[in-house]
Amino acid sequence: MTDDPDTVADGGADGDDGRFELRDHTADVAVAATADSLGGVFAAVANGLTAAMCDEVPDTGERFPIEVRAESPEAALFDYLDECIYERDVRSVLPADHRARVGPVDGEWVVEASARGVPFADVVARDVKAVTYSEMELAETADGWRAYVVFDV
């Protein structure tokens, strides 16, 4: 796997075409994201996750790959974000600058992604515990894709 995945068809995008907003949630935090491509919206939600943990992300760190397979696009999004959190804890890095491609392969939805792992020593960050299915939305729109994900803080 490379930094710029090319094995999953995703409309030709490299998944960095998205935008996100942090949304109010009483105890937790929600991310609303849009993008031209499915991979783009996955990466945009992950960038929202990063923003929920850290206000200013430095430019340090090496990229690392993330790959998940799941039975549906929603499950793939859930597993991808869970994997970002898992990698954060075991690599001791803040995953940032996410890139992702998402598409169907042999009956499964495959996410081929990467993130830049900012060493914890370089950053002041807060914990986000987990991704949740609560109120999750992932939908195709006239302009591309939108997603809404609540994270447990």
């Binding site: 009483t26 935090v29 804890d89």
Partner: protein, 505 residues
């Protein structure tokens, strides 16, 4: 002419007033039982301000839910199941729901007594808060008190605080004053995934961040002298409160089982109004595996809080130049907030012996239930065998942390908790403002300065944003929460504490 019950409606959810502080959402549609909200008018307005009521109603769709689902006075919107929610499901034909426990399994709180008075501490607050902050791991990536290998993690999951005792991090007295003596016998580490164990390895003995904290407090009020004496509390005494959970290990256990249940029990999931309520049918392989894994994560959380206690004792010894025994640093109690436990409760049944809503009951029988408490505290009264011998004659201590500007309460399990709430009460003040709104409303350094200058409360955190997100103004009025608990007799007031210094991740 008959009296019409008082009703209120919030976004399509109608509540009928049962009596003072007790509101009921009647059973309808796909609900398997009614739901109740325990709140004053002021708290009900706050509870109804987000999706708490909708989530509470959704939770009654769980199979086998018994009597009613209950929202505590500090309830607020969570994910799937509301925070402050209690739901009891039958262990034979009901279900167990990871979403109704929450991601932070055995997120909980413990209180450590000292022999110090506030006068002993005044003048040392900055040294104390700096030393605690330097020695108690907190925040993201702060490591743990112990750097664990695979065997260490297995032993903690299996034996809980017994491991801490063997390793010199706990005393016999600590175990005697912890819920379940700090070990869930049903723990099955083999059902905890390798991913979860990987995440836990470098977080053993760490606060984390969010609403987790360590706070030195002084006892300002004693309301029940007899029970306070049994708890070893007196006015002006210094105590330490530690609030945290099972860290990444527990979060991963919940995530893993939500996904496994989604794949295995999709038919049940399709009948539930929220995917986050995913539940495994009682008696299924996944129900048993989740229960074993959750119990192992409960053990991990108890050890987590124990290692922080150990480190806190060392800090106090250095600052006050006395050993922990001389300082009287004994564990008062440790309670869980996010947990499901097999417990036996009396439930109403119909003529066929089927559990039914109280209004339809013709008799009562004892049933074993999975009591899910998510952001709620067990509050057993005197006499329940699960209460440790040290407190069995007075009832279980209940610790209700408030915000870092408002103080906290110690309650005792109330006699009405068993018939009203499956032996439960509130777990804190409960949020009213989102984290994003809090960061727009407050500036962390300003909050810290005001707390120090106006209230003599010393706060130190990894991040100013965390202080802003946890500013006193983002929480409900803890006094009002406790007033409702006390008035309903589910958790009775014993003592009140006020912060001296506080560290956060």
């Amino acid at each position: 002419m008959t009296d019409t019950p008082e009703t209120r409606e919030f976004d399509g959810v109608e509540l009928r007033k049962v009596r003072e502080f007790v509101w009921e959402i009647p059973q309808s549609g796909g609900m398997n039982a009614p739901a109740r909200v325990l709140a004053s008018d002021a708290l009900l307005d706050q509870i109804a301000d987000d999706n708490t009521l909708q989530q509470l109603r959704n939770s009654t769709h769980l199979p086998g839910i018994t009597k009613y689902a209950v929202c505590m006075p500090d309830g607020h919107q969570g994910y799937g199941f509301p925070v402050g929610g209690v739901g009891a499901t039958d262990t034979t034909d009901g279900c167990i729901s990871p979403g109704a426990v929450g991601y932070d399994i055995n997120c909980g709180v413990r209180m450590v007594r000292t022999n110090l008075t506030y006068d002993d501490v005044r003048g040392t607050e900055e040294e104390l808060v700096d030393s605690l902050f330097a020695n108690v791991p907190s925040g993201l990536g702060g490591g743990g008190v112990v750097e664990g290998d695979a065997d260490t993690v297995e032993a903690i999951l299996e034996r809980g605080m017994e491991w801490a005792l063997e390793e010199g991090y706990a005393t016999e007295d600590d175990l005697a004053h912890c819920e379940d003596e700090g070990r869930r016998p049903d723990a099955r580490p083999e059902f905890v995934s390798q991913k979860a164990k990987d995440r836990g390895r470098n977080q053993i003995g760490s606060l984390g961040s969010g609403n987790h904290f360590l706070e030195v407090q002084r006892v300002t009020d004693v309301f029940d002298g007899e029970v306070a004496e049994a708890f070893g509390l007196r006015e002006d005494q210094i105590v330490v409160l530690i609030h945290c959970g099972s860290r990444g290990l527990g979060h991963q256990v919940c995530t893993d089982y939500l996904r496994r249940i989604e794949k295995r029990h999709g038919d049940l999931l399709e009948r539930l109004p929220d995917k986050e309520l995913a539940a495994a049918p009682a008696g299924s392989e996944l129900a048993d595996e989740y229960y074993g894994a959750m119990c192992a994560a409960i053990n991990f959380a108890w050890v987590n809080r124990q290692l922080i206690t150990h480190r806190t004792r060392r800090v106090f010894e250095r600052v006050f130049r006395m050993d922990a025994d001389e300082l009287g640093m004994e564990l008062l109690y440790d309670v869980a907030h996010n947990i499901a436990k097999r417990e036996v409760h009396e439930v109403g049944v119909d003529a066929d012996g089927t559990a039914v809503a109280e209004a339809d009951a013709v008799d009562h029988e004892e049933r074993e239930l999975y009591v899910h408490r998510k952001g709620a505290t067990r509050a057993f009264p005197a006499g329940r065998e699960e209460v440790p011998p040290a407190y069995r004659d007075v009832g279980q201590p209940v610790i209700i942390p408030g915000s870092m500007g408002a103080g906290s309460y110690v309650l005792v399990g109330g006699a009405e908790s068993l018939p009203e709430t499956f032996g439960s009460t509130a777990h804190g003040a409960g949020r009213v403002m989102s984290r994003t709104a809090a960061k727009q409303e407050y500036w962390g350094e300003t909050v810290q300065d005001e707390l120090r200058d106006q209230d003599h409360i010393y706060v130190k955190a990894q991040s100013g944003a965390t202080v802003a997100e946890e500013a006193p103004g983002v929480y409900k009025d803890v006094d009002e929460v406790v007033r409702v608990s006390d008035a309903l007799g589910i958790g009775d007031k014993v003592a009140r504490t006020f912060p001296v210094c506080n560290i956060k991740g």
